[in-house]
């Protein structure tokens, strides 16, 4: 594939060092980590080493890490697992959550446990006053993401957790888009549960984790052989877990390089975008460095993404998970962006492998495609 990859918030290429760490566990070291013979013990030791690596990357202890199959599973596990041990109290999720947080909340809601949405402002920041107001009703769980996948806006989760705890609610944060991009410290955030995922940080697909405050009572999603101290049954995906661990080490090591490098790329991009009169979403929010989410008035996002793809640039029109649907981004609607502008949204998300030259080429291609598309629309009108 010759196209330039600007879709790192969707998934990332596996890092060579990560693949090297994984390969033995795809071949000769094939043991089941629960087996007691030497194959099993080697697999177990590798899983426990990876647990240390993940713990180090998120500022937690190894015994707080529960490995799962994905970020989606971790989020479902957190929302369902925490709420199913409580018989009442509403579930609050922010309006910009990924569906794998908001949907399970809706799925388990009952007459005494209603799912409600916390408003955000036009900069994609959680409206803390609205949260305070909602918390006047007894609440079991507040779930708010650390970094939004579309706009890249970073939430003040420490503050959210502080407010929620004052009202005796549990707090979960989806930190999938934060890991590897900003420092993530479980204890400093003050949450009870936190989701992280491997494939967004150069690790393989197929591994995620839920970081847990050991004092909370959580019900498993999967029952069976009792792996992960009974919290997540199922044979450990040793190779993916090892890859996740290795990717965490690299992410920590590259954290500042990632920030400096992608911030530079984004500055280049957004100076260019301003010249083309783009609307940049969340621009006044506090954003991670690699993400730019923007639209042009009267240009349909899906059409622009397809045109850019033909020109050799892989970008996203919304979050990949919901890109089956043609609905405008729920994140933008929650920020109060008008529906027609929201339909124009395009997301660029950089990685360490991208270059300034690629950005310059992208801006040229973008300008050409915009002119072409506007001419077409003008002709049609």
């Amino acid at each position: 594939m010759s196209s330039v990859y600007f879709d790192h918030n969707s998934t990332t290429a596996l890092k060579t060092e990560v693949l090297e760490a994984m390969l033995p566990f795809m071949a000769s070291q094939h043991g089941n980590a629960t087996s007691r013979h030497s194959f099993g013990r080697t697999a177990r030791a590798a899983v426990e080493h990876a647990r240390e690596q993940v713990a180090n990357a998120v500022g937690a202890y190894a015994n707080q890490i529960v490995f799962t199959g994905s970020g989606t599973e971790s989020n479902n596990f957190a929302v369902r697992g925490i709420c199913s041990n409580l018989d009442k109290g509403q579930i609050l999720t922010s309006a910009i959550e990924h569906p794998c947080v908001s949907r399970p909340a809706l799925a388990i809601q009952t007459s005494v446990m209603q799912a409600k949405s916390i408003h955000v402002d036009s900069n994609c920041n959680i409206n803390l006053a609205h949260l305070q107001k909602l918390l006047l009703t007894p609440t079991s769980l507040v779930s708010a993401m650390l970094v939004n996948n579309e706009t890249g806006v970073i939430q003040d989760i420490t503050k959210v957790a502080e407010i929620a705890r004052e009202h005796k609610a549990y707090v979960h944060t989806d930190a999938v888009q934060a890991l590897g991009k900003i420092p993530v410290d479980f204890f400093a955030l003050g949450v009870h549960a936190m989701t992280v995922s491997s494939h967004k940080i150069g690790g393989p697909l197929g591994a995620g984790a839920l970081v847990l405050d050991k004092r909370i009572d959580i019900q498993p999603l999967l029952y069976g052989g009792g792996q992960e101290k009974g919290l997540r049954s199922g044979t450990e995906n040793v190779a993916a877990i090892v890859g996740f661990g290795a990717a965490c080490d690299l992410a920590t090591k590259n954290l500042s390089a990632f920030d400096v490098h992608t911030a530079n790329l984004r500055d280049h991009l957004e100076i260019g975008l301003a010249k083309l009169n783009a609307v940049i979403f969340g621009y006044n929010g506090f954003r991670i460095a690699n993400t730019s989410f923007f639209a042009f008035k009267n240009v349909e996002g899906e059409t622009l993404v397809t045109a850019l793809d033909k020109a050799g640039f892989a970008v996203a029109s919304g979050s990949a998970c919901s890109s089956d649907s043609t609905e405008p981004s729920h994140v933008l609607l929650a920020m109060g962006v008008p529906e027609d502008l929201a339909r124009g949204a395009v997301r660029v998300s950089f990685g360490l492998s991208n270059t300034v030259q690629e950005v310059e080429h992208f801006l040229l291609a973008l300008k050409q495609q915009l002119t072409r598309l506007r001419n077409l629309t003008a002709v049609a009108a």
Binding site: M1, S3, D7, S10, T11, T12, A13, L14, T16, L19, M26, A27, H30, G31, N32, T34, S35, R36, H37, S38, F39, G40, G69, S70, G71, T72, E73, N75, N76, P99, C100, P104, L106, A107, H199, P204, L205, G206, L222, Y223, G224, G225, G226, Q227, S233, G234, T235, N237, A239, A240, V305, D309, A314, V315, A316, S319, A320, C321, S322, D324
Partner: protein, 410 residues
């Protein structure tokens, strides 16, 4: 005489029922999807996503082909544990209001099935855990008798993980169809070992795993029958992947691996099973000379890969310790962290002692004749040594009936 020095070589792997190595052909097919074609298959806007999606759909076809199903009937999961949980909780919850809240399963099922049913019991369902016959097989009349007017679901495994016996799924399925009971089958231990024809089998839901069939860990599938159409309530919500039945980003490389593993299984299972049967028979012939050994489970309705034997008057943990030269399991790997005797063997009516002294040998694609011969010699010498140490063996040799001895509890 084989070399009995255990330290100068890696142990011989005879634990293929716990997990299998990834076939090198599978690994080669997977790696490009880790490094080069790393797109998210749900990304519709660029070729990275399309390539991944195409690979996922090819793999779905391969999985469907092995079991003669329609690709649209295959839902990806993270493994057989998730498939079993999704099938059992998903179908029971969906049909509870129309069919009822009683579930039938077998006492020798995998923990993932038993514990999913127990979770439903906590939610207000009732359950029957049917005891199999001493040979491990389900008695059809007893199964039929267990069905109640409010039975919503039955779950029976095709191949048992500990003793390898094969249940008569067709007959059990027909009983379920007649009674209007949803029928789930855990086939994690069956793929590539027994022929599965879902176009003709009366099965509504079937669980699969990749890592028991030379594919990677962390990926599995659930067959959800379209004719008659079976509905399940999703257990994991999110982006609405897999037609809403199972959300979560798909791990393309693992799916590709499962597809390739199942393709190889389809093409090679006939000849492979013959070779494995020859090895198992050779192993059995070698071990049955040892006095006081008991094969657990029926030998004729059984996959050729499995041999589960109890060595009387030898304690299981010390036996495992003695046979470090081979990697085998005592009881299922998933529960071997505990010191409890195998619940499967207990359900067959085996005494605690015999259950404690059982070893599961599971043979696979890379097992050789030399491996089997080494194993026989190793077992013979170690059993001799441990029996030399065993006061129970001494009593047995003196003609004392150990079951009649009054043991002081401690």
């Amino acid at each position: 005489m084989a070399n009995m020095n255990q330290t100068d070589r890696p142990p011989i792997y005879l634990d293929y029922s716990a997990t299998t190595p990834v076939d090198i052909r599978v690994a080669k097919k997977m790696i490009p999807y880790l490094t080069e074609h790393y797109g998210n298959p749900a990304s519709r806007s660029h070729p990275y996503g399309w390539t991944a999606e195409k690979a996922v759909e090819n793999a779905r076809e391969e999985v469907a082909k092995l079991v003669n199903a329609d690709p649209r009937e295959i839902v990806w999961t993270s493994g057989a544990t998730e498939s079993n949980n999704l099938a059992i909780k998903g179908a029971a919850n969906f049909y509870a209001s129309t069919k009822g809240k009683h579930i039938i399963t077998i006492a020798t099922e995998h923990k993932a099935v038993i514990d999913a049913v127990r979770e439903l019991e906590r939610q207000g369902f009732t359950a029957t855990y049917l005891e199999p016959e001493p040979d491990g097989l389900v008695d059809l009349a007893k199964f039929k008798a267990a069905i109640q007017p409010d039975t919503v679901l039955a779950s029976v495994m095709l191949v048992n993980n500990e003793i390898g016996v094969i249940q008569d799924i067709e007959a059990i399925g027909n009983i379920c169809r007649e009674a209007g009971v949803i029928f789930h089958v855990d086939a994690a231990q069956a793929t590539g070992k027994v022929k599965i024809d879902l176009a003709s089998l009366p099965v509504d839901l079937m669980s699969f795993s990749a890592h028991k069939t030379y594919g990677p860990k962390g990926i599995g599938a659930l067959y959800v029958c379209r004719k008659p159409r079976i509905r399940i309530e999703a257990q994991m919500h999110g982006g609405g992947h897999e037609r809403g039945m199972r959300s979560g980003t798909l791990a393309t490389h693992q799916i590709v691996g499962m597809g390739e593993a199942f393709r190889i299984a389809r093409e090679e299972m006939a000849s492979e099973n013959e070779r494995i049967r020859m090895l198992r028979d050779r192993l059995l012939a070698g071990l049955k000379d040892i006095e006081e050994t008991y094969v657990n489970g029926d030998l004729s309705h059984r996959i050729p890969h499995n041999l589960n034997i109890s060595f009387n008057y030898v304690e299981g943990e010390s036996l495992i310790m003695a046979v470090k030269g081979i990697a085998v399991s005592s009881g299922s790997a998933c529960t071997s962290a505990s010191l409890e005797p195998s619940y499967v063997l207990r359900a067959l009516g085996r005494s605690d002692e015999l259950a404690h002294s059982s070893i599961r040998f599971s043979i696979g694609r890379f097992t050789t004749v030399a491996d089997v011969d080494y194993t026989v010699e190793l077992m013979k010498s170690k059993i001799d040594k441990l029996r030399e140490l065993s006061p129970l063996w001494e009593m047995f040799k003196d003609g004392i009936d150990i079951s009649k001895v009054q043991w002081a509890a401690h």
